[in-house]
């Protein structure tokens, strides 16, 4: 499987995501520069953590206008799996690929620590290899990770089984303890915690691997919409 890791000028977890899928899982990956209008032949896209364009306006606010995001939109529309981690999640909500917004942590401070996540659904290409209810130990590292949406959106997310991960010990004030959500078509996921940082027992946890393993397994067993994806290349 080949992952495309999008690189904005201020991405700083790009190498970590790359390392997790290549060195730890033995898959292929390539970096895709932000001004690229094409994603090449990748099977899945990762929007990594960082500070895309400095994030001085709002996290992810400028990134949504970048050429590569047009390509990501098309890729997602064709059913290709798109995973946004941390800043990547912020970019996805700003770009309208996921609902809601990520605002300043309730405590106003940047928080870096391990949290426990409950896997709320396995009906997604990102969690198919996990168990429903499975608790993952995965780190967070963000200042603006408080998930916000209006009640109607939140109800809808829940009704459609689109909340993927919830915090067991909500660190940032996220509404309904939401740590990660899916798009309606279930092929776009954003999550504030960093699965790529929990991908090696030496680093304290390998629980995050299941996210990437799910993608790999899904690609091996059912190449989804490959014709569509081929068509946009």
């Amino acid at each position: 499987m080949k992952f495309g890791v999008i690189v904005f000028p201020g991405s700083n977890c790009d190498h970590d995501a790359f390392y997790a899928v290549t060195a730890n899982l033995g898959e292929k990956a390539e970096f895709i520069w932000h001004d690229s209008a094409s994603l090449g032949d990748v099977d899945a896209v990762i929007l990594p953590g960082g500070f895309a364009y400095g994030d001085y306006l709002r996290c992810g606010a400028i990134a949504k206008f970048s050429p590569v995001m047009q390509a990501v939109r098309k890729f997602a529309a064709a059913g290709g799996p798109v995973l946004g981690i941390c800043n990547g999640f912020q970019v996805l909500v700003e770009a309208g690929l996921l609902p809601g917004a990520l605002i300043r942590n309730r405590g106003l401070k940047f928080i870096c620590r391990e949290v426990r996540l409950r896997t709320e659904t396995t009906d997604s290409p990102f969690t198919a290899a996990a168990q429903k209810g499975q608790v993952l130990r995965v780190p967070i590292a963000h200042g603006e990770g408080c998930y916000f949406a209006d009640d109607r959106t939140l109800d809808e997310l829940e009704a459609e089984d689109r909340v993927v991960f919830r915090y067991l010990d909500n660190p940032n004030g996220s509404l309904r303890d939401i740590a990660g959500i899916l798009s309606r078509e279930r092929n776009v996921m954003g999550m504030m915690p960093h699965p790529e940082r929990a991908s090696d027992p030496l680093m304290g946890s390998a629980d995050g691997l299941v996210v990437f393993q799910s993608l790999i397994r899904g690609q091996a067993t059912q190449p989804r919409n490959s014709a569509d994806i081929e068509a946009i290349r």
């Binding site: 917004a101 300043r104 942590n105 405590g107 004030g173």
Partner: protein, 81 residues
Amino acid sequence: MKARVFVSLKSTVLDPQGQTVRSALNGLGYHGIAGVRQGKFFDIALAEGVTREQAQKEIETIAHEVLANPVIEEYRVEILD
């Protein structure tokens, strides 16, 4: 001509920064303060020759599309001479 765009969190969105400022002010003895909401504003210099109408329209678009996130924020545009 200049434009000024004020952006603040919608009243339905929690503003922990504003709350913190409020409790600090109360702590300093300013008991007349009932609430504080924090926002930001952008001072935008317009190029020569842009008309007021053009400016109003363009700045509205910029405010909506770029400067504010309508999911959580509201904005107000002022055009100044």
